[in-house]
Amino acid sequence: MLVIRRRAGEALVLDGSIEVQILEIAANRVKIGIIAPPAVPVVRKEVVLAREQNRAAANPAAGSLESLARGLREAGWCSPGSTP
């Protein structure tokens, strides 16, 4: 990993066309501005993780879900309207 120290108001450039500006530095957060060509998608890493997890979760292989459901019920879940 390349590590670069920057102060608020400074910037760095990626690939000659993407500029990352350090706008503001707080105690535990950094405000960043990004100037990039429209074709370059910029998303939070959390969005990428959610996207990857959704793809892993989609269309699960057909199989018995009874064991899973039973395990969750045994964890204390009760049918709506039933008494715990």
Partner: protein, 142 residues
């Protein structure tokens, strides 16, 4: 939250789901004997389908935060909510791979507002909730 989702109810996701942004309409259903699992399937046959579970099943104290953007999509008010007394449903999507322990995504619950028929997957930024949360030991997908 309401006691239970009506079977086969259609929800519109204005932004789709991360990774499936082109799919906007999903049907929520339940299947006999498989409570508390629910099923969220794209209205279109070739689209994605998911297994999910109410977040409170995995964490009775789950705190859901709706920011302004998510609240606007869901036609709800922004804020932090627990399961009790809320007007919406919140589900964790399960990753269910045969012969592997199932996991639940508590970081990005699917939130449904039955009153408006809208849904959104709401990332819980800065919450500490994991993308991969182990489901109870003993529960398995096969």
């Amino acid at each position: 939250m309401p006691d239970s989702p009506p079977p086969g109810e259609l929800f519109h996701f204005p932004s789709g789901l991360p990774g499936f942004e082109q799919h906007h309409d999903f049907i929520l259903s339940r299947r006999a004997g498989l409570d508390p699992l629910v099923f969220l399937d794209s209205r279109h046959g070739q689209g994605p389908g998911f297994i999910a579970v109410p977040v409170e099943v995995l964490d009775p104290h789950y705190l859901l935060r709706l920011d302004e953007a998510a609240a606007a999509e869901l036609l709800l008010s922004p804020g932090a909510y627990t399961a009790a007394g809320s007007r919406f449903l919140a589900f964790a999507l399960l990753t269910c791979i045969p012969n592997e322990p199932p996991t639940a995504n508590l970081f990005a619950p699917v939130v449904l507002n039955p009153a408006s028929g809208t849904g959104a997957q709401v990332l819980q930024l800065d919450s500490g909730y994991p993308v991969v949360h182990p489901v109870r030991e003993g529960a398995s997908c096969s």
